[in-house]
């Protein structure tokens, strides 16, 4: 049995199959329970895979040798966001100035509020600096954390947790604020929960998805400039 396992575990193919099969299962499960974001397919899938890796004593690098082929597709998928964005370009043009203003307000709020709350609760400085870029998509967050002295790898993880929290808290907040425009919903999701939020926004409509993708790109750009300046102003 153990030699059987070693043979399969050494093949990158195995972890691709595990990742896709687990995700299919958790998507099915999520539909069965009525699509609650508490059992978000991504969150459940990654929890199950972490448990499986720990049960089989597999380290993350081994897993990633297979899973990197799925991870790689994030690049072309990000480029592909241009298609829904083009489809809704007329809306984007009409809303350009409000979008830029909302993006600046949102990006400053995201960075400032997380630093303020964590500082009040007595977080260590490295945690504080790793939290600052949490609303940006992972590759940008890693660069920012490096620049200001946080842990880049932790920052990448916190970005994912933020994404999940965003998908959880946004729908009830939208109902409370009576937000009915899918463009506003999508933009807010993309700004506060980056790629996670964008994937989630596509479940509302392609319009929401297009605006989420736009927000993700804009926020990344703005945060990369704002956070280092904020950190210096706060004397961290």
């Amino acid at each position: 049995m153990s030699s059987f396992w070693v043979y399969f575990a050494a093949k990158p193919l195995w972890w691709i199959i595990v990742t896709i099969a687990t995700f299919l299962f958790t998507s099915w499960l999520n539909r069965r329970v009525g699509g609650t974001p508490l059992l978000h397919p991504v969150l459940v899938a990654l929890s199950l895979i972490i448990v499986l890796l720990q049960l089989t004593g597999t380290d993350y690098n081994t897993y990633f040798e297979g899973a990197q082929f799925i991870h790689f597709l994030l690049g072309p998928a990000t480029v592909a966001l241009a298609v829904p964005l083009y489809d809704h370009f007329e809306r984007v043009k009409k809303m350009l100035l409000p979008l830029l203003i909302a993006c600046s307000c949102g990006a400053v709020t995201a960075a400032l509020s997380v630093i303020a709350v964590a500082w009040l609760l007595g977080a260590s400085e490295a945690t504080l600096l790793s939290l600052a870029p949490k609303s940006v998509t992972s590759p940008i967050a890693i660069g920012i954390a490096e620049k200001i002295g946080g842990y880049p790898s932790l920052a990448a993880g916190l970005v994912l947790i933020t994404g999940a929290i965003g998908c959880l808290v946004a729908p009830p907040l939208f109902r409370w604020l009576k937000i009915e425009d899918d463009a506003v919903k999508g933009f807010t999701l993309g700004l506060s929960a980056h790629g996670f939020g964008t994937a989630f926004a596509f479940e509302f409509s392609t319009l929401a998805g297009a605006f989420a993708g736009l927000a993700m790109g804009l926020t990344g750009l703005l945060t990369a400039f704002i956070v280092p300046v904020l950190v210096r102003l706060l004397g961290l």
């Binding site: 991504v42 660069g143 506003v184």
Partner: protein, 121 residues
């Protein structure tokens, strides 16, 4: 379909080059998205060969975050030490960010004529 997939990858590659050459803080794929958008605007429509792979990838966007998400296991100890602080600040900050962004955008777009609300196109 295949030509479209190639084009997505070429845009990404060009994006990575531009970011590297200009020392920009943006990831290459985001620059690639800007390049493709500029190309689509110049062309005036989305060719079917690009639409098929693009919509296929975007339909399964959530799956693509799973491998990076599993990476959280590497930081189990760090997170265990300060999890309450981390979680509280992330939740509070995310709620505030959603509120600010949604309210600002809703207020600023209130008077714009945008046609049908929340259309499912």
């Amino acid at each position: 379909m295949l030509a479209g997939l190639l084009l997505l990858l070429v845009c990404q590659l060009l994006g990575e080059w531009i970011v590297l050459a200009a020392g920009l803080p943006v990831p290459g794929p985001v620059m690639g998205m800007v390049l493709l958008l500029a190309g689509l605007i110049a062309h005036g429509k989305v060719p079917a060969t690009i639409r098929t792979p693009a919509e296929g990838l975007l339909r399964h966007l959530a799956l693509l975050f799973v491998p990076a998400g599993v990476g959280l296991m590497v930081h189990a100890e760090l997170i265990a030490a300060e999890w309450l602080v981390i979680l509280t600040s992330l939740v509070v900050s995310t709620v505030v960010t959603v509120l600010v962004t949604a309210l600002v955008l809703k207020r600023l777009t209130r008077n714009l004529d945008l046609g049908a609300r929340g259309d499912k196109s």
